[in-house]
């Protein structure tokens, strides 16, 4: 009797234990949804694709390493969506993804107008956005702290460019005093110019040429003719890759020896290297991320990541892919800290994270935390120079992996 009773209890306990374990397993298996919303069609599709590639690489790595540990090893599930190339499409896509999936966070956009348009929806759903777009307009009180910029502000780009120039003048005695500013007439270009304007005076530069140009030009020779005529010794340029290529080619054709310092965008993208071949060497640009910065190269794991990217996608890991990769790790860190998939809690965690280990350290200078306005507190844009067909970081000296090749 008792033996039977005992047996029954044992069976019951075993069953209960099994159930608990099974449930635990089930809970551990419940994935955390993170959406990647990027422009995947239209003229900015390639920006979006690179970002998605980087983010996917990060998510794979996180999942293989056992997922989010504080959530019992929950795996990250990525939902990739096309924000299209106009604000209406961005809003529609964002609303759809928010309605269809229980999201913990969104990593996305890359292009400023798309991000600005999608923000109200994110705020309404209390889902945080980790973005690699650079517009300052994002940081508004009404965004309620739901946006986190993992990369730099466009303004920081501009400031870094001028700081670099001062460095050239003192370190290399290049004696550059006359600057030209050429920027695409869009939010990225405008913001960059603002940054340059801010600091040119402090650097004792005379701006002899300052002009916006409409994007998607068919011919850069008029721009180049004007730049040459202005007598500028250094050109700060903000353009996308197609325009950048035309501008550089036309400058070369005109036998111009002006020092070009690009502001991210087209001047540091893989295609420009492919297009110009050997001639790309020596070209300077400011980047919010570069795969050849000290914080990456001194970390064996991150070096392996950049190599893997190159193997998978046939080019060195570009700026947007790096920030996409970092964004995903930032989200993972926040999930880890929040120990919850609740997006509001993830947001609060994002505001508090201060990461100096793991994949997120791929961002310069190797540490990520967000200030009260959602900007990356530590971010330091780097100046890169194409050497041997790839961009090397040459400034600031703390992150540099190569010396400047004097043009």
């Amino acid at each position: 009797m008792t033996a039977r009773f005992r047996g029954l209890i044992a069976a019951w306990v075993a069953a209960a234990a099994f159930l608990v374990v099974a449930m635990g397993q089930a809970r551990a298996a419940a994935p955390v949804n993170v959406a990647l919303i990027f422009p995947l069609s239209g003229p900015n599709a390639s920006v979006g694709e690179q970002s998605v590639n980087g983010a996917k690489l990060a998510a794979e790595e996180i999942n293989q390493a056992g997922g989010i540990k504080s959530l019992g090893g929950a795996q990250l599930k990525l939902i990739v969506a096309d924000s299209t190339n106009n604000p209406q499409g961005s809003v529609t896509t964002t609303e759809r993804i928010l309605a269809q999936h229980q999201l913990s966070a969104v990593c996305g956009m890359g292009i400023s107008p798309l991000t600005v348009a999608a923000m109200p929806a994110m705020v309404r759903h209390h889902v945080p956005l980790v973005t690699n777009s650079i517009a300052e307009e994002l940081i508004t009180p009404s965004n309620g702290g739901y946006v986190f910029q993992v990369g730099a502000h466009a303004r920081q780009f501009g400031e870094q460019q001028v700081r670099f120039l001062r460095y050239l003048n003192t370190q290399y005695r290049m004696n550059l005093t006359k600057a030209g500013v050429l920027y695409i007439n869009n939010p990225y270009g405008l913001a960059t110019r603002k940054g340059i304007e801010h600091v040119t005076k402090a650097a004792g530069l005379e701006v002899v040429f300052d002009s916006a140009y409409p994007g998607n030009i068919t011919d850069a020779s008029p721009l180049v003719a004007r730049i040459q005529r202005s007598g500028a010794q250094v050109l700060f340029a903000a353009s996308y890759v197609s325009d950048a290529q035309l501008i550089l080619t036309a400058l070369r054709g005109a036998d111009s020896h002006i020092l070009v310092i690009g502001a991210g965008g087209g001047y540091i993208w893989p295609p420009i290297g492919q297009a110009l071949g050997k001639r790309v060497n020596g070209l300077l640009g400011v980047a919010m991320w570069n795969f050849n910065s000290m914080n990456v190269t001194r970390n064996r794991h991150l070096v392996e990541v950049t190599r893997r990217y190159a193997r998978l996608y046939g080019t060195f890991m570009p700026e947007q892919a790096g920030t996409g990769y970092a964004g995903m790790f930032v989200i993972a860190a926040a999930l880890e800290r929040a120990a919850s998939a609740d997006p509001a809690k993830v947001r609060d965690a994002l505001a508090k994270v201060d990461i100096d280990r793991g994949g997120a350290t791929i961002m310069q200078p190797g540490r990520v935390a967000f200030g009260p306005n959602g900007g990356n507190k530590y971010i330091e844009p780097v100046v890169v120079q194409w050497q041997g067909g790839v961009p090397h970081t040459i400034f600031p000296e703390t992150l540099a992996t190569a010396h400047l090749h004097k043009p």
Binding site: P43, P214, D219, A225, S242, G253, D255, P271
Partner: protein
């Protein structure tokens, strides 16, 4: 003075490309009465065709990349035939509105298809022409645009012969003016349409092959060129194929001179303003003598 000369030459050279694109556009409008909003995508497809052919191999030497020009143009001519036979043949009977809708849809679809087939990457085959230039006095002439310009002139001469002297040309002009009358004279209008579509697409293909040495190829590239081509054909006079060449050259120069002397950002606005002025003051176009009834 040198600066003015330089900006005029810059405009002239880019105008050559506009001219090639505009010629095909205007040929299609003149003969088929079709405003082809997908013409920029013909150019885009032509660029991809050229890049694809270049992938088969490029002979060494400075001019090696240009071998793709003729095969590329013929490939695109084939595409033009296909588009005509599949879509435009039936669309000839549609109203203007439905034709616009059709070509706009085609334009979107082709951009999407290009991205699906070729990816969104910016492609440029490394080549010695990119960035090479002649320097004459203080003036710089880039080789790539110069070749495109020279070919545009040669093509213009060939088109002048084709339209003015050949049986096809006479037939095409007859169809353009009065299709029923042309058919009564024995002209097979559908064949003329087919050849027109092939020729227009072929010209776009040729233009594509001529600009790949120095311009990126990507799915939306056609849009930047085709708008100017549209303005050029109206400025020249719709249907006036040889006028379109002058229109393209003129717009190239206006764009260049305004960009050189005024604000860069206003160079686009300037050509639109010129366009509106021509439209309102001389709607038949600058280079068309007789007012056309459209």
């Amino acid at each position: 003075m040198v600066f003015l000369l330089q900006s005029l030459i810059n405009g002239l050279l880019i105008g050559g490309v506009y001219a090639l694109v505009a010629m095909g556009l205007n040929l299609m409008f003149g003969v088929m009465k079709l405003v082809n909003f997908a013409h920029g995508e013909f150019l885009m497809a032509g660029m991809y065709a050229a890049v694809l052919l270049a992938g088969l191999g490029v002979p060494a030497g400075f001019w090696g990349l240009y071998w793709v020009a003729l095969p590329g143009a013929f490939l695109m001519g084939g595409l033009g035939c296909a588009v005509y036979l599949l879509l435009l043949r039936r669309a000839a009977a549609f109203g203007e509105a439905a034709q616009i809708l059709l070509t706009v849809g085609l334009s979107l679809g082709m951009q999407g298809a290009a991205q699906v087939l070729a990816g969104s990457d910016f492609r440029l085959v490394p080549n010695p022409i990119n960035g090479a230039a002649l320097r004459l006095g203080g003036v710089t002439v880039q080789i790539g645009p110069l070749v495109a310009f020279a070919v545009a002139l040669a093509v213009t001469a060939a088109m002048a012969w084709l339209l003015g002297r050949s049986w096809f040309g006479r037939a095409a002009r007859a169809v353009a003016e009065d299709i029923a009358l042309a058919q009564a004279l024995g002209v097979d209008a559908r064949r003329v349409f087919l050849m027109t579509a092939a020729l227009a697409a072929g010209l776009a293909g040729l233009a594509g092959a001529l600009i790949i040495p120095y311009h990126y190829t990507f799915p939306n590239v056609g849009q930047s060129f085709v708008i100017v081509a549209f303005l050029a054909i109206v400025i020249a006079g719709l249907g006036n194929v040889l006028g379109a060449v002058l229109g393209g050259l003129l717009l190239g120069m206006v764009q260049s001179v305004t960009a050189s002397y005024l604000d860069l950002d206003l160079s686009t606005a300037a050509i639109y303003v010129l366009f509106l002025a021509v439209l309102l003051l001389r709607p038949q176009g600058l280079f068309t003598r007789r007012a056309r009834t459209v």
